[in-house]
């Protein structure tokens, strides 16, 4: 009886893993096929569309990086009279506020919103809402302080909003400090899988493109109707993605709107960032799962992909469980089916790293990006996955215990930025 129960559990767990593998195989195939098609020229790309744009930059203790972003803001090609840059100095204890003030005094389109320790320091969502209240733009774009966008990024992102069905856009994140060390190189590979293939394929297939919290934006009226950012959720990006699509709008991915991020450069910072992502994503899963199923604004394929997207941070736990259940079954010489399905466990080990892309997807993404050296590191991605198993398991257990004890208070642990990315900026 116990063995039968274990067998059924193992079959279900591996079936779920195989569903994810098929999903990513389809994504990879879609991107490869789209290369052969000529890009459709839309009215949006040709029309002169220059609405008033507000750029929100939340910054807390970002003195090492905020200057380079603000310098970049002054170099943007978008007309400055239609641009409003708001730096939200969120109770910084370093000179972030002073640096922002210096730029503000020299450039009228840059404004600084200082938040003291009483109002500020409550996390990114709180800072974003404060900035949103001050904004005037028809389009609201967001950039994290450690990011470094292309000069033409505003035009590239805003042109998608010509389509009235588009509520949000997402640009591409590329790791700036990729050559720094092995951590940044592996994070870069994860990003390639996530953006070069996953996001692009979702956009091509008409699925739910994920807003990544930065290098993207919203239509003001959409954001207003959603009451801005939900401060009770750690993964505010995923939360907004689902609120936008559930409200009947589309999120578009603009692959050529690139922005360079300073990736975490040590395992401790990696763990802290991924824990926040995992816990926040799981919160979103509990919040939106049923709404996605019941939604009348989503078609069947969007619902299926939406559910898979919401549950993605459970995959490391599921792989761990399948290992725990599968090993005793093999030791007890269970059925041939179990032995056959066992192969999906190691494949999955190479499939749910970081942005949860399998090795074949990351490889193709790296090739399309011309990252000939970085793609040789793909076999090492297994270590980041092993690292993600305890991170995601802890996030899940913490979330469940917090829900049971009714102490679901979010503690926003800020990712520290060393400013090491500055040395990789060549212009």
């Amino acid at each position: 009886m116990i063995i039968e129960a274990l067998e059924v559990s193992f079959v279900l767990l591996t079936a779920l893993m195989i569903v994810y593998l098929i999903r990513h195989y389809v994504f990879t195939l879609t991107v490869l096929r789209s290369l052969k098609k000529t890009k459709k020229v839309t009215v949006a790309s040709d029309a002169k569309y220059e609405p008033m744009v507000s750029i929100l930059i939340p910054a807390r203790d970002e003195e090492k990086v905020v200057g380079r972003l603000l310098q970049r803001m002054t170099e943007l090609t978008y007309p400055k009279d239609k641009l409003q840059v708001i730096v939200i100095d969120d109770a910084s204890s370093d000179s972030t506020g002073r640096i922002a003030d210096e730029y503000s005094s020299r450039h009228s389109f840059i404004e600084v919103l200082h938040r003291d320790k009483r109002d500020g320091g409550k996390g990114k969502t709180s800072a974003m809402n404060a900035g949103f209240t001050r904004s005037k733009g028809e389009i609201i774009l967001c950039f994290d302080a450690d990011y470094y966008p292309q000069k033409t990024i505003v035009e590239k992102l805003t042109k998608e909003f010509v389509d009235p069905k588009v509520g949000a856009v997402q640009g591409r994140v590329v790791v700036l400090n990729e050559p720094q060390n092995i951590v940044t190189r592996l994070v870069a590979l994860e990003r390639i899988g996530g953006y070069r293939v996953d996001q692009e394929a979702r956009d091509n297939l008409g699925l739910i493109v994920q807003f990544g919290g930065t290098v993207g934006g919203f239509k003001r009226n959409v954001l207003e109707s959603l009451n801005g950012w939900d401060e009770s959720i750690l993964a505010e990006d995923t939360d907004l993605t689902f609120r936008v699509v559930l409200a009947g709008f589309k999120v578009r991915y603009v692959g050529d709107a690139e922005c360079y991020e300073e990736a975490v450069d040590n395992w401790k910072a990696y763990r802290s960032q991924r824990y926040r992502w995992a816990r926040g994503h799981m919160q979103c899963c509990f919040k939106h799962q049923l709404k996605v199923l019941k939604s009348k604004n989503l078609n069947m394929k969007e619902k299926i992909d939406g559910l898979l997207l919401l549950n993605v941070y459970f995959m490391p736990i599921i792989v761990l469980l399948s290992f725990v259940v599968g090993v005793p079954l093999i030791l007890l010489e269970s059925s041939k089916l179990i032995t056959a399905l066992w192969f999906s466990v190691p494949v999955s080990l190479y499939s749910f790293v970081g942005n949860f892309a399998p090795f074949f997807e990351v490889g193709i993404g790296a090739y399309l990006d011309g990252r000939t050296k970085t793609q040789l590191l793909i076999p090492l991605l297994i270590f980041t996955f092993f690292y993600n198993i305890p991170i995601c398991t802890k996030a899940f257990l913490d979330l469940v215990s917090a829900k049971i004890l009714r102490k679901d208070h979010n503690i926003w642990v800020k990712t520290p930025h060393s400013g090491n990315g500055n040395r990789y900026i060549t212009n």
Binding site: L331, W342, F343, V347, Y350, G363, D369, T372, T426
Partner: protein, 129 residues
């Protein structure tokens, strides 16, 4: 003449791949055949769509099959000896770690194959703004 030579090379690669599958079925085990088939499926459906001549891609696929066959043959021989020496428990552990061992060559060969292809025409610039 060149046209015929190219075709001969293609046929040779096909034969090598078919031979690897037959040999693995006859002298190794059915699991090796399945692993090679999965590898061939992923390789042909994804890497074959990238830039590079058919000869080069088919050559890499044949090389992958040869590596996979030898890798599995070595571990299979090791398992036969281990099973005779340690008994049934070794067989169970071998079954558990067998797919992990196979993934090692598949993933490594995958990344090496991509590096061996010519650069993608519309490639993205290296990560420099």
């Amino acid at each position: 003449m060149k046209f015929k030579a190219n075709h001969l090379v293609l046929v040779l690669f096909f034969e090598v791949i078919a031979l690897c599958l037959i040999v693995s079925f006859r002298f190794v085990n059915i699991e090796t055949v399945i692993i090679l088939l999965i590898f061939n499926f992923l390789f042909t459906s994804l890497i074959f769509q990238l830039d590079g001549t058919l000869n080069r891609k088919l050559g890499m696929l044949a090389l992958g099959n040869i590596i996979g066959l030898f890798w599995n043959f070595i571990f299979h021989s090791f398992a036969v000896v281990g099973l005779a020496y340690f008994g049934e428990i070794f067989g169970a552990f071998y079954t558990i770690f067998y797919p992990f061992l196979n993934l090692m060559w598949i993933v490594s060969f995958w990344s090496l194959s991509l590096a061996a292809l010519p650069n993608f025409q519309n490639m993205h610039a290296e990560a420099k703004p």
